[in-house]
Symmetry: C2
Subunit: 289 residues, 2 copies
């Protein structure tokens, strides 16, 4: 693990690291915020994993979400990985990208799945990376309290957080999302990514569709928080929280879906409600056993 | 004036506008935050002008500084202009840039001066733009309380804020800076910009050098706040706050120069201390008569 940068912010430290990833078969980057030692000691600290949306790297969240102020106060570690494999792989070839150069597939659009289709399967294994390889590294290198782990994210990453929580509710005990792609099998972003990464047999998509997971696995014990802006340009075509909400109602999943009047899909929306999410996770994680 | 974007954030509105600037002889962009009406009514509101540093546009501050949360609470309007003229001018030629393509001169590096040297003088008139044209437009278009106007900024923009306050202490009643280029006539960034924009006769630089202005105009009635990170990579070579501090001590300028342990030159540093600056300005502006 190599430290690319480390700076002070709100009394804590914001760092960016790179490491050689087995799951993605290339170097991967992730950001980690650690809270002020003079307030919270050396740990172990509760930890949140943040999954970013389409086009993002490990930098968007740490530069724009305004999370460090609250994380410093509450004593939270926040891990924010990149959204896809990137760069030259170990054979010297570039990690493949969308042949059309679009923003919604390939680089910056890993969708937190393990690809089964060539050429994507050699690198696009973000699901294993996020749920196995990265947490193992984080547990080894940082003073975190594994029993107090939560997950949250935005858009594609909100979808990732929902699916990972629903599949591993005992590992990721709390879950929230900003404007998640709540039913990816039913919208253009999800259909493009899932058909390319997983093939056109839609039964293979179910393990990566939050609505399908709720129906198949049932409700988690957590109370999930979702914020969604009503002025989000992707709300009706790509996000569809009402489909996930209907599945939650049907399965008894505790869910607060808050429609935020006039907010869009940007980090201005995320920053506005970040404090609510961090306090929501912290409160639940401190009660976790 | 054309609205390029307008989004909700912390109950207020963050907008970006463009307009045809006479001073800069090209289209210019600026960002404006207006606070929530349900908290603060329709105004008039106190207003702060934020001047950004080298390489920035009107977007860096609004995306990364985390200012809107506090401005929404306090009821402040914040205006954040671009840092230089840009784009095609009215004759169809591009606004000139540094011939070497460097980041510290030309586009993104207007240094808040009125250039006297060709080819820069046709467009690089940021001093007149910031102190005359832009405030006139803001006063006309937004519900601001002109008698409660302050100015602040970062690095090149911290320098700009200091100089503009010291020259117009009755117009810009409060002033603060993050890591300002405190003595531009004595450092490489300032020497390059001022010699190109104003010519090599250093006597022409004095109206744009905060330390020289203090010596020539004397202290303002304001209490100036400066935050400076001790781990700032530019502290010793480009910023030199100790020179400005010595001039302040000599002239009786009230100044709090806070050396912040381990902080660098980035927006992570700015975000950490933004709340202090906004409360500092707000308190003083509410006492202004």
């Amino acid at each position: 693990m190599k430290t690319l940068s480390k700076v002070n912010i709100f009394g804590g430290a914001q760092s960016i690291f790179s490491h050689s990833s087995e799951a993605c078969n290339c170097d991967m980057r992730f950001a980690v915020f650690t809270p002020p030692e003079h307030l919270h000691g050396a740990g172990p600290h509760p930890v949140l994993y943040w999954l970013s949306g389409l086009t993002c790297t490990e930098e968007n969240f740490i530069a724009k979400a305004g999370a460090q102020r609250i994380a410093a106060e509450l004593g939270l570690v926040i891990v924010a990985p990149d959204t896809s494999p990137r760069g030259p792989d170990i054979n010297g070839n570039d990690v493949p990208d969308d042949p059309d150069g679009a923003y919604d597939f390939g680089l910056g659009a890993g969708f937190y799945v393990d690809a089964t289709e060539a050429p994507w399967s050699m690198h696009y294994n973000m699901y294993s990376y996020i749920t196995e390889e990265l947490p193992t590294l984080i547990e080894k290198e940082f003073p975190i309290d594994v029993a107090r782990t939560g997950i949250f994210g935005h858009s594609m990453g909100g979808h990732g957080a929902l699916t990972i929580h629903l599949k591993h509710p005992d590992k990721y005990k709390t879950c929230s999302a900003f404007a998640p792609i709540a039913a990816p099998s039913s919208v253009p972003w999800g259909e493009k990514a899932l058909s390319n990464y997983l093939g056109t047999d839609k039964s293979k998509w179910a393990p990566y569709d939050a609505t399908a997971l709720l129906q198949n696995y049932g409700a988690s014990k957590a109370h999930i928080l979702i914020d969604q802006g009503t002025a989000d340009q992707f709300l009706e075509t790509q996000l569809k929280p009402e489909i996930f909400k209907a599945a939650a109602d049907k399965t008894g999943q505790a869910l607060s879906l808050r429609m935020q009047d006039g907010y869009d899909h940007s980090y201005y929306f995320i920053a506005t409600f970040m404090e609510d999410h961090l306090r929501w996770h912290h409160k639940a994680l401190m009660q976790a056993t």
